[in-house]
């Protein structure tokens, strides 16, 4: 097993609940992402939140990104564990939005201008374009980019202005196998850029999310003593998995390992039972 140890928390969800018009969408969600360190390695972490369609994953994303305030509970981010505000967490939405009226380079410059002076912003933008293999498309408008290029651009844009934490809402949705491999590469690329970089994947693709993550939380419904479903999706104690501890994290081709596949099958059973 790869040696590792944990340092300070980088994201904390403390009893987060959300109601809309009296209807509970999310209930008492608690989870903590810790900065994981591996000796002689400079790599951040990938964690996953799995939830079936319609469970309120996008609401959870917007809460974690500081775009909406939960009805109760708090979200704290960063080493200082400050309450989340819009812009504190990079958030790549499902459709990879970019400013359609700006060229790719300008899109990144707008983001970079938040943290850097104009000269440095330009330099950082160039570096990100290079790193994400987008240099040749810098003058193109988003409508001219392919799905993969658009996704890389959206991630680069968020990385340029956020502080290490980046949230991906359904990053594998509707992608073919080659594109999924591409996204996986991008995610690993992001984590190798800085020890503190943390990618939070919120997805309904259990296989890919589990393969990439070193911590996993399953969102689902709980039942009361009489067997009735309780309102609002939550993360129960038995649905929190430390994949590093289980020896399933940071393997190059983990999806080919029987142990991994047995675990995914177990997760699927858990998901079916909570339906």
């Amino acid at each position: 097993m790869t040696p590792y140890f944990y340092k300070a928390p980088v994201l904390t969800l403390d009893n987060v609940s959300m109601e809309y018009g009296g209807e509970t969408v999310l209930r008492d969600i608690s989870a903590q992402v810790l900065d994981v360190c591996r000796p002689n390695m400079n790599q951040g972490q990938v964690v996953g939140f799995y939830g079936r369609s319609g469970l309120g994953k996008s609401v959870l994303c917007r809460i974690m990104a500081g775009l909406i305030t939960p009805t109760s509970g708090t979200v704290k981010v960063g080493i200082e564990q400050e309450e989340v505000t819009p812009g504190a967490v990079g958030f790549v939405q499902q459709q990879y939005p970019l400013f359609n009226h700006r060229t790719l380079q300008d899109n990144l410059l707008v983001a970079a201008a938040r943290k850097y002076e104009p000269e440095e912003a330009k330099r950082q933008t160039d570096a990100y374009l290079e790193r994400f293999q987008l240099s040749q498309h810098r003058k193109k408008y988003p409508a001219h980019l392919s799905g993969g290029q658009r996704q890389r651009a959206a991630i680069a844009q968020q990385l340029l202005c956020s502080d290490h934490l980046i949230l991906l809402d359904e990053p594998f949705s509707g992608l073919d196998i080659a594109m999924i491999d591409e996204v996986k590469k991008i995610i690993l690329e992001v984590t190798t850029m800085d020890e503190l970089n943390t990618v939070v994947i919120v997805s309904h693709d259990i296989q890919t999310t589990t393969a990439l993550a070193d911590r996993l939380w399953l969102l689902g419904y709980e039942r009361d003593a009489s067997g009735r479903l309780l309102p609002g999706a939550t993360i129960s104690a038995q649905h929190q998995y430390n994949l590093a501890e289980m020896g399933l994290a940071w393997h190059e081709n983990v999806e080919a390992e029987p142990e991994f596949n047995r675990f995914v099958e177990l997760l699927k059973d858990e998901i079916r039972q909570s339906a």
Binding site: P86, A88, L98, C161
Partner: protein, 258 residues
């Protein structure tokens, strides 16, 4: 040929141009050889056109009307943009709502109030046009603003842009091309109104007054000639607006279905 009648087909440029030319020729042919003589003939219209250009100053009147229309459009666009963008603040939303509803007011009643408020005939004409155009523009512009999605605003906010900067980036800059389209579409309304306003305030002349006189004396050939001149001016304006859109907002046509 078959593709000209297939839904959503994309005929070749040459085929399409030939088809459009054929349709125009057919229309012209119908006009030339139509047995029913309700409509003045092409030669009569051409004669009336030449007569109005040489003796009644059609070009000068057209220019006068056009400069008034452009003046009104410029002021109305600024006012309408201001009112529409102010809807970001809840306090101003009733103003935009009321402005939009005022498009139901009739011009005839309005000119009376405007005449009380301003001094010269030109100002009355201009203020009526500005008012009427503004209320139409506000309607179109606010509906453009309402197309802003949660995703677009969230995207700007996650980049750490404040609320005003997000509004500027997403709504103001992001929808400027759509606003130009609203202006283009509503410019046609000015032409409808200017002819009416010019007949109400005849001291300043204009193509509307010329049209009114031709109508009054049942000079159908003159009426058709003026209408065709207005049609040509409108088509030229549309072309210019399209050109401006392509030059200043090259991204705007990239996502349009063809």
């Amino acid at each position: 040929m078959k593709e000209l009648f297939s839904p959503n087909a994309q005929p070749r440029r040459r085929t399409f141009a030939l088809m459009a030319a054929g349709q125009a020729a057919l229309l012209l042919g119908l006009w030339l050889w139509m047995p029913l003589r309700m409509f003045p003939s092409l030669s009569e219209v051409l004669r009336a056109f030449v007569d109005m250009v040489t003796t009644q100053g059609l070009i000068q009147e057209l220019w006068a009307s056009m400069t008034t229309a452009l003046q009104a459009l410029a002021v109305a666009t600024v006012l309408a943009l201001l009112i529409s963008y102010l809807t970001a603040l809840p306090f101003f939303r009733p103003l935009a709502y009321a402005a939009s509803k005022m498009r139901y007011l009739t011009l005839t009643g309005l000119t009376f109030f405007m005449a009380l408020m301003v001094s010269s005939g030109h100002e009355v004409k201009l203020s009526v046009l500005i008012f009427a155009t503004t209320v139409y523009l506000v309607t179109g512009m606010t509906s453009v603003i309402l197309t802003t999605t949660q995703q677009e605003m969230d995207h700007a906010r996650t980049l750490g842009l404040g609320e005003w900067r997000s509004f500027w980036e997403v709504v103001v800059l992001g929808k400027l091309d759509d606003m130009l389209e609203v202006v283009r579409q509503n410019f046609a309304i000015i032409w409808t109104m200017i002819t009416l306003v010019e007949t109400l305030y005849q001291s300043e002349g204009g193509i509307g007054l010329l049209l009114y006189k031709q109508n009054r004396y049942l000079h159908l050939d003159g009426v058709v000639a003026i209408q065709l001149v207005i049609l040509a001016a409108g088509a030229a304006q549309d072309y210019v607006f399209g050109l401006l859109r392509r030059v200043f907002f090259p991204y705007s046509s990239l996502t349009t279905a063809r």
